[in-house]
Symmetry: C2
Subunit: 189 residues, 2 copies
């Protein structure tokens, strides 16, 4: 099975409560563009992530609001900002580093949530059936490029009715493979 490979740049997810401290009471998150996963979008609002060694300004907030704040960095970012690297699936933030988020109206210290995302493939149950895989399976994905072809191991399958078929990697992984926009990967088990 072939799957489009999408590169996730550094971003944050926030709760409505944290957003209002950062951007002001009653202010709304505004959509910049839709993402491949239904309902998910990049917003126009940006924050600074304060790390132990360095700050990273201009980090995009992805919407909609979530139940917990989460900061997704590349390992290059995490090292540069001074965070320990906690490679996790989205949502699995227990025991990960915290940080301070800074917006135009205020700042919030989050106790945990700074992760390097584990590479993964979103798919529907129908896709999973076609590929012969199930939720939480680990697969490899072959990605060809001009001079930096790779086979990614340890790719997590994530199955949900409201997912769209796409593989997500971070900027380090994308750069390691010089993965151009629109590149298709091949799932190999």
């Amino acid at each position: 099975m072939k799957v489009i490979v999408e590169t996730s740049a550094r971003h944050v997810h926030v709760t409505k409560e944290v957003f209002e401290v950062l951007f002001g009471k009653g202010v709304e998150l505004t959509k910049k563009k839709d993402l491949s996963q239904p309902g998910q979008f990049a917003s126009n609002e940006r924050v600074t992530v304060k790390g132990p060694k360095k700050d990273q300004p201009n980090v995009s907030i992805l919407g909609p609001f979530r139940k917990a704040c989460q900061v997704e960095l590349s390992a290059t970012d995490a090292r540069s900002l001074g965070f320990d690297i906690a490679m996790r699936e989205s949502g699995d933030i227990k025991g990960t580093p915290g940080c301070t988020l800074v917006g135009p109206c205020g700042e919030v210290e989050i106790a945990e949530g700074v992760i390097v995302a584990k590479r993964h493939i979103h798919m529907t149950p129908a896709d999973a059936k076609e590929a012969g895989v199930k939720d939480s399976d680990i697969v490899s994905v072959k990605v060809d490029s001009d001079g930096r072809s790779l086979i990614f191991g340890d790719v997590v399958i994530r199955v949900r009715d409201d997912f769209a078929l796409a593989m997500h990697i971070d900027t380090d992984e994308s750069n390691a493979g010089l993965v151009a926009p629109g590149t298709m990967g091949e799932i190999i088990k």
Copy 2:
């Protein structure tokens, strides 16, 4: 055949003439530590690389001096500083972007030499014989890690009497595989 996988951080190579403009006439490059390749060393001297979008301070010079200046960046760096990405083997700099190097005593504009290094394996003729490969061959290398295992394709074999057996990848490639120091890769053809 197994080979140690070493991560090259961003660095520059300079000529003696350029070094003296940057650091002063008669000043010597001083060794900080030896590298795995015989005669090669990291120096204590550091420069700023001025890119079209941003500057990168504190970039280590590797010695000894070379016949041409060369700046080796990760693709993450190259994008961040604003350079076009020219993925090349070391020494193959024709037509690559130029930049300005800044030292404590002066600055020099180089017309070309900013590259993203093509991943490669240094080896002796005896190693090549044992592995059943020759100079310029392209191989794949399997690298296992805790949660980000990879098979690197497009790895160039470089054979010379004065090389030591080691695979070199950049920080993006290392982070994409969470490659710990001392990790061994397996050459697969």
